[in-house]
């Protein structure tokens, strides 16, 4: 697939890639390499100009706008800037994602508590985001991405705003989730993480895939 913006910028050129269910993939590259565009195409924030793109069974070249929410419900997104609602408690921030899919109160109470415990924030459910550290806030973001049990996690530089030691904690958590069968696609700049966690690595440069190493980051 290829993507050229209206400004004339060629963001992606003939990118051809297959990610299998249950894989953990790092997407790396310098700024402007096309990582963000790649992620935007997968969540259908942008549409490729040519080629084909199939995500979780949805053909993103043919999908109608009203079907996009249903595509997004099959995935969980973790943002670099956490994107927590400051006026809502930790619990409500996570529950918010469940309200969107129309879950009932009992299920919301049960699943939110479970997922917060899983990310190690069971005792911070009533805290406000401002009372949490960066790492904790990102774990809330992770809990929100996981709470609807998606088959794919998209993490756009999730460690970009946290301390290095907390970065390891977050990727460890993602690896743990991946081991339970969830596909994880993580964009990162952090070569140390890529090296230390032995997952498939796709390297982008000027909108093209220049390396795809299934064996892990140590070889990049």
């Amino acid at each position: 697939m290829s993507k050229t913006y209206k400004t004339g910028t060629h963001a992606l050129n003939d990118v051809n890639i297959r990610i299998n269910p249950g894989e953990f993939v790092f997407v790396v590259g310098a700024s402007g390499a096309g990582k963000s565009t790649f992620m935007k195409l997968i969540v259908r924030e942008e549409k490729a100009n040519t080629g084909s793109l199939i995500v979780n069974g949805f053909d993103l070249m043919k999908i109608k706008n009203k079907e996009v929410p249903h595509l997004r419900r099959t995935m969980g997104i973790v943002f670099q800037d956490f994107r927590l609602i400051p006026t809502m408690s930790v619990f409500d921030n996570v529950a918010f994602a469940m309200h969107v899919v129309g879950a009932d109160r009992r299920r919301i109470r049960r699943d939110v508590s479970a997922v917060l415990s899983m990310v190690g924030l069971g005792n911070k459910a009533r805290s406000m985001p401002s009372q949490l550290s960066g790492g904790e806030q990102q774990r809330v973001g992770l809990a929100r991405a996981l709470v609807n049990r998606p088959t794919l996690i998209i993490a756009d530089e999730p460690t970009g705003n946290v301390d290095p030691n907390l970065s390891y904690e977050i990727v460890s958590k993602l690896t743990e989730i991946n081991k339970q069968g969830t596909t994880v696609l993580m964009v990162t700049h952090d070569h140390n993480l890529v090296r230390d966690f032995q997952h498939r690595v796709i390297m982008l440069e000027e909108g093209r895939i220049v390396a795809d190493n299934a064996a892990g980051g140590g070889n990049i």
């Binding site: 935007k40 929410p69 997104i77 006026t87 994602a97 899919v101 129309g102 109160r105 929100r144």
Partner: protein, 377 residues
Amino acid sequence: MKLRSVKYLTGEGIKNIWANRLMSIASVGVLVACMVLIGLAILISLNVNKAMGTLEQQNVIMAYFNDLNSVLYGNASDSYVPETSSDATSSDEDADESSSSNKSSSNKSSSNKSSSGKSSSDSDEVKKPTDIPDDAYLIHNEKEALALCKKLEKLDNVLSVEYISSEKGLESIKEGLLDGKDQYFTFLDGEYGNPLSGAAKITLKDMGKFKETLKAIQNVKGVDSVQSQSDLADTINAIKNGIGIAGVWIIAILLIISLVIVSNTIRVTMYNRKLEISIMKAVGATNSFIRLPFVIEGIAIGVISAAVSMGILYFCYRVAIEAIREALGMMEIIGFSSVALPIFGVFIAIGALSGIVGSVIMISKYLKKEGSEFTAI
């Protein structure tokens, strides 16, 4: 959308009002001002229409019949002269035609002939009806007069027709104009003393069609002449039209202002909640799910404004009624309770409509945005 989602979003919409309370209060304030002005415009318009309606009821058309008296006591120019009048000697079998032409000639001078007693006629020498052939006039007796009244009643735009016999007409002149000194007017008594024609007092439904109706009445066979206050009818029409046009403009302008105000509130709310909207989109919220709390917020602001406006309008109207009654004395004014429900309905409709339209217009801009575009707003 599931019912529990609707409940959740309704709660969110109401919470938003409190969360943005300053903006909400400002919006309610401006909306209330608009609604009160709209309410006052409606009330003034209704009261003016009522007053005009009362005037309309008093503004009647008098149609004088082409009867024996109209032939005998018409103006000198059109009074009956057996030897020379072609009208009176026209064909026997077509009495309608002859009296119709008679009518048209007498119409020209009809304005001078009125219930004032036809003073122009020379009553000292009353002509005997034996000189006059039956086909010189159309209305020979009360039965025919009543039939003519029925005919007039069937005309378009005629509300009611009251038959005023020549005797009744004379009575009312004696009572009204002669001020009890009718002993000086005994010459009016007797079989041929009364110079008045029979007449019909016609009330119209719509003064807007005054001229057309007047013409239709004049064209009815058996009607000799008509008398009306066309100036008053024109004035009433002008006032009614003016009030109607001004009312529509005022309401239209205030409606637009209301819409802009609510849209603005929603826009500010959306700006404050752009992060929330971006997250909603990311986790798979449908457009209607994102839109609903804002629509609820808009509607709630509209409904609150409607309720507050009703209270203020009631108070203002009461004060205004007191002032008008004190200044003008007894005057027929529409009671607030009789129009409260429709006005409240109008207010609710304005509030809800501006809430829905305002939020839908504003949010459509946000719904097109994706992810990082929200941070650029």
